[in-house]
C-alpha cells in the first residue's frame, strides 16, 4: 500500500515568522487544470499592516549592513534554492502548467537571477554614484540609497521567476519589501519564503502575503509608512490607476503596471534596482 504523503500548510511570511492570516481565512489554490493543490492563507488588511511594520523594523539593520554582506546573503538564497531545485520545479510545473523540463529551466533562471542581483549589491553605487566636479572649492559626491519600505505586487503569471525578478532588485540595495504573491499561483512564493527564512535573510526584510490583490494592494498603496510601490503584478487597469492615486498621498515612488506581463526569461536591467533608490548628494568645502 502506497504511503500517504504529509502535506504542507502554506502560510504567510511576516517578520521572519510563518503565521496564518489573523483573519483565520484561507482560499483554495488549484493547479493549471483546476485540480486542488492547497488551501493558502487569505491575508487580511491587518496582516498587510503588520507586514509593513515588520518591513519598517527590519529596514535599519538591512540598509545599514554592508553591501558585501547583502550580496553574500542574496547569493546564499541562490545556494539554498539550488538545493531544493526539484521541489521548486514541481511547484512551478503545477502552478503554471509547464512540463517538468520547462519548469526546471525556469527554476534555473530564477536561481541565476538571484546570483545576478547579488553581485549588484556592491556595484550599483559605482555605476550610479558619482563625484561631481562643481565650479567651486567643494568636494561633492552622489550615492544611491534605498528608498525604504517597498510594496511589491508580484507578477500573476510567472510565479517564481517573475517573483524573484521583482523582489531581488528591491532588497539588494537595502530596501525591505512587502510582497503580494501571484493571486492564483501563490504556492511557489510561500516555498520561496521558506528558502529566505533559511538563507540568512533577516526576518522582516522580505514579507510575503498570499490573498487577493484587489484587497491588499490598496492598503499598501495608501499606507503612509510605505515609500514605494511596484505595480508590476496588477492586471486590472482600473485598480492600477486607483493605486497610483492612493500612492500620491505620501508621494510614493511608483513602478506602474505594464500593459502585459514582461517576458522574465529576458535579461534583467539594473535600472530596476535604481527605481527603488534615492540619490543623495553631499557637499563639503575644501581648504586648509
Amino acid at each position: 500500500m502506497a504511503r500517504l504523503d504529509v502535506r504542507k500548510t502554506y502560510k504567510l511570511y511576516v517578520g521572519g515568522a510563518f503565521p496564518r492570516s489573523e483573519s483565520g481565512r484561507s482560499y483554495e489554490v488549484t493547479d493549471s487544470k483546476g485540480a486542488f493543490l492547497a488551501n493558502a492563507a487569505w491575508a487580511s488588511r491587518k496582516d498587510t499592516r503588520d507586514a509593513v511594520v515588520a518591513a519598517r523594523s527590519a529596514l535599519g539593520g538591512w540598509s545599514g549592513a554592508t553591501a558585501y554582506n547583502r550580496g553574500q546573503v542574496l547569493y546564499r538564497v541562490a545556494e539554498m534554492l539550488e538545493g531544493r531545485r526539484d521541489q521548486f520545479a514541481a511547484g512551478v510545473a503545477a502552478a503554471e502548467g509547464l512540463a517538468s523540463r520547462a519548469a526546471d529551466r525556469i527554476v534555473g533562471l530564477a536561481i541565476d537571477r538571484w546570483v545576478w542581483y547579488a553581485g549588484w549589491s556592491d556595484k550599483i553605487a559605482q555605476i550610479d554614484g558619482s563625484s561631481n566636479p562643481v565650479a567651486g572649492p567643494y568636494f561633492n559626491f552622489s550615492v544611491p540609497e534605498p528608498t525604504g519600505v517597498v510594496a511589491v505586487i508580484a507578477p500573476q503569471a510567472s510565479s517564481l521567476l517573475g517573483l524573484v525578478s521583482v523582489v531581488a532588485p528591491v532588497v539588494v540595495s537595502g530596501n525591505t519589501a512587502v510582497v503580494v504573491a501571484s493571486e492564483r499561483r501563490p504556492l511557489p512564493a510561500v516555498s520561496l519564503s521558506e528558502v529566505l527564512a533559511t538563507s540568512d535573510v533577516p526576518g522582516g526584510v522580505v514579507n510575503v502575503l498570499t490573498g487577493y490583490v484587489g484587497e491588499l494592494a490598496p492598503v499598501l498603496a495608501a499606507h503612509l509608512d510605505v515609500n514605494a510601490i511596484d505595480g508590476t503584478g496588477v492586471v486590472d487597469r482600473a485598480l492600477a490607476a486607483s493605486l497610483e492615486v492612493e500612492a500620491a498621498e505620501n508621494v510614493k515612488r511608483v513602478v506602474p503596471a505594464p500593459r502585459h506581463e514582461p517576458d522574465w526569461t529576458e535579461p534583467a536591467d539594473p535600472r530596476r534596482i535604481l527605481s527603488f533608490c534615492e540619490i543623495k548628494t553631499v557637499w563639503h568645502p575644501t581648504g586648509v
Binding site: V134, S142, V245, I279
Partner: protein, 487 residues
C-alpha cells in the same frame, strides 16, 4: 550668561546704490510663445504682473486657455521628431548658443528678474544668472554624449514635456527644466509662475535670437488653471513640476493611470544641525544664508536650526547680532540683502504661520528693521523655544523665518532632523569629519550640505526623498527623467 563683545566700530550709513533699470525694456503686454512666435491667446485671458517691491504693474500677460495649450502641445509635437533626429552635436550647439546669449544678456535678465520677483540684484546677478548659463552649458555637452550617460544603449527621448515651474527662481527653474529636456531630444511646453512670467518671456526672445527651431520651446503663461491644462494634456508624454507638495500630490493623482512620466521637486523643511564643536562664526553665516537667502523663498531652505544645547545661547546671540546687519529694501540696490516677498498671498501665508508660532508659545525675535511703505515685506525672524509639534517646525513657511530647536546627542539630532514628511535637504556643522559622514549617511534628504549651505551647481544632482518629490535635476542623473525607461 553669555555675552557677545560689542563691536566698537562706528556705524556707516550706506548710500543708495541702485542698479540701472533702463537696461530692460518691458513691453506693455506679452502674448504666448508658441511655435517660435509670440501670439495672442485664442481663448485665454490676460493678467497683470506686478513689481512686489512697489506694487507697480509691470505688464499685461496672456493667460493661456485650452485652445492655446492645445496649440502649444501641437507645435511641440510637430517639432519633436526632427529635433530628436537632429544629431546630438547640432542640438548641443543650439544649447551652447542659448548659454552664450544668456551670458551676453545676463545683466538685463538679472535686472528683470529682480523687478518681477523682488529678490535682490546681488542674488540675481551673482547666483541666478551665472547658474542659468552654466546649466545650459552643462547639458549642451550631454546632447551628443547620451550613449555614454549610463542609461542603456541608444537612449531615447520621452517626447513632449509639460513643465510647470515656481516663482522663487524663475529663470533658474526654467533652465533646470529646459536644458536637460532639450539635450535629450525632447521638446517642451513650459508654464512659468503667474507672478514671475517676464524672464521666461525674455528667454523666448533668446530662443528666437539663436534660431532655435520653432516649437522646440513653447512658453504658455497663466495661473494654476493653465498649469493644469499643461500637465493633463493628453499630448504630453512627460510632466516635470517644481512647487508645493500639495500641488505635487494633486498632479501625481491626476496623472494616475495615464502612463505619463513624472518628476516632482516639492517642498522642504530642512534641518540645519549645528554641533557644539562647529566653527560658530562660519556656521552663523551658513545659517543666515540657509534661511534668509532669497527671502527664505527656497524649497531647500535651512528653516529648522537644530543646535546642540551647550552652544544654544552663544549661537543665538551671534545670530541676532548678524541679523541686525542685514539690509532689507529696494531689490535693485546693490547693497540689499533681503528683498521683497514675492506676492501678497505669500506674505499672508508667512504672516499666518508666524502668528501661529507665537500662539503656540515660541519666542519671536526680529531685528529693528524699517519696512518700506509700499510693496510686500517681512522682517527676518527667529523663533526660539520651538516644539517639534509646532506648525512652524512642521510646515514649510517659505519666508525669512527660522525655527530654532535643540538637541543633546547625535542620535537625537538625527531623529529630530528626520522627523518630517519632507526630505529635500539638510545641513551639518561640525569640525569632526567622521561625524559629518555619520550624519550624512543617516539624514533622509536628497542634498546634505556639510559646513556649507544652499550651494548649487549644474553638475550636482538635486531633488528630494519622501514627500519632497522624486527624480533628480542636475548632473548625469538629471538626464534620466527625460529619457525613456530611466528615472
Amino acid at each position: 550668561m553669555v555675552t557677545v563683545p560689542d563691536l566698537v566700530t562706528p556705524t556707516w550709513e550706506y548710500a543708495p546704490a541702485p542698479e540701472a533699470r533702463d537696461i530692460v525694456t518691458i513691453r506693455p503686454s506679452y502674448g504666448l510663445f508658441i511655435d517660435g512666435q509670440f501670439v495672442d491667446p485664442r481663448d485665454g485671458s490676460t493678467f497683470k504682473t506686478v513689481n512686489p517691491a512697489t506694487e507697480e504693474v509691470l505688464a499685461e500677460v496672456a493667460a493661456a486657455g485650452p485652445n492655446d495649450v492645445d496649440a502649444a502641445v501641437a507645435a511641440a509635437r510637430r517639432a519633436q521628431r526632427s529635433w530628436a533626429r537632429l544629431s546630438g552635436g547640432e542640438r548641443a550647439k543650439y544649447l551652447y548658443r542659448i548659454a552664450r546669449t544668456i551670458q551676453e544678456r545676463s545683466r538685463e535678465l538679472a535686472v528683470l528678474e529682480s523687478i518681477d520677483n523682488g529678490k535682490p540684484i546681488k542674488e540675481t546677478r551673482d547666483v541666478d544668472l551665472p547658474l542659468v548659463a552654466a546649466h545650459f552649458f552643462y547639458y549642451a555637452g550631454w546632447a551628443d554624449k547620451l550613449d555614454y550617460a549610463g542609461f542603456g544603449p541608444d537612449p531615447k527621448p520621452v517626447g513632449v514635456c509639460g513643465q510647470v515651474i515656481p516663482w522663487n527662481f524663475p529663470l533658474l527653474m526654467l533652465a533646470w527644466k529646459i536644458a536637460p529636456a532639450l539635450a535629450a531630444g525632447n521638446t517642451v511646453v513650459l508654464k512659468p509662475a503667474e507672478t514671475t512670467p517676464l524672464t521666461a518671456l525674455l528667454f523666448a526672445e533668446i530662443c528666437q535670437q539663436v534660431d532655435l527651431p520653432p516649437g522646440v520651446v513653447n512658453i504658455v503663461t497663466g495661473a494654476g488653471e493653465t498649469g493644469a491644462l499643461v500637465v493633463e494634456h493628453p499630448g504630453v508624454d512627460k510632466v516635470a513640476f517644481t512647487g508645493s507638495t500639495e500641488v505635487g500630490k494633486l498632479i501625481q493623482r491626476r496623472l494616475a493611470g495615464t502612463g505619463k512620466k513624472l518628476s516632482l521637486e516639492l517642498g522642504g523643511k530642512a534641518a540645519n544641525v549645528l554641533f557644539e564643536d562647529a566653527p560658530v562664526d562660519q556656521a552663523v553665516e551658513g545659517i543666515v544664508n540657509g534661511i534668509f537667502f532669497n527671502q527664505g523663498h527656497v524649497c531647500c531652505a535651512g528653516s529648522r536650526l537644530l543646535v546642540q544645547e551647550s552652544v544654544h545661547d552663544t549661537v543665538i546671540a551671534k545670530l541676532k547680532r548678524r541679523l541686525g546687519t542685514l539690509r532689507l529694501g529696494d531689490p535693485l540696490d546693490k547693497n540689499t540683502d533681503i528683498g521683497a516677498i514675492n506676492s501678497s498671498a505669500q506674505l499672508a501665508r508667512i504672516t499666518e504661520l508666524v502668528t501661529a508660532g507665537e500662539e503656540e508659545g515660541a519666542t519671536k525675535w526680529q531685528p529693528a528693521c524699517d519696512l518700506p511703505s509700499t510693496g510686500y515685506w517681512f522682517a527676518p525672524t527667529i523663533f526660539t523655544g520651538v516644539g517639534q509639534s509646532s506648525r512652524i517646525a512642521r510646515e514649510e513657511i517659505f519666508g525669512p523665518v527660522l525655527s530654532v530647536l535643540t538637541f543633546r546627542t547625535p542620535e537625537e539630532a538625527v531623529a529630530k532632523a528626520n522627523n518630517t514628511p519632507y526630505g529635500l535637504s539638510a545641513g551639518v556643522w561640525t569640525e569632526k569629519g567622521s561625524r559629518i559622514l555619520w550624519m550624512a549617511n543617516r539624514l533622509r534628504a536628497g542634498v546634505v550640505w556639510a559646513n556649507t549651505f544652499n550651494r548649487f551647481d549644474p553638475t550636482s544632482p538635486f531633488g528630494g526623498y519622501k514627500e519632497s518629490g522624486f527624480g533628480r535635476e542636475g548632473g548625469r542623473h538629471g538626464l534620466g527623467p527625460y529619457l525613456q525607461g530611466s528615472h
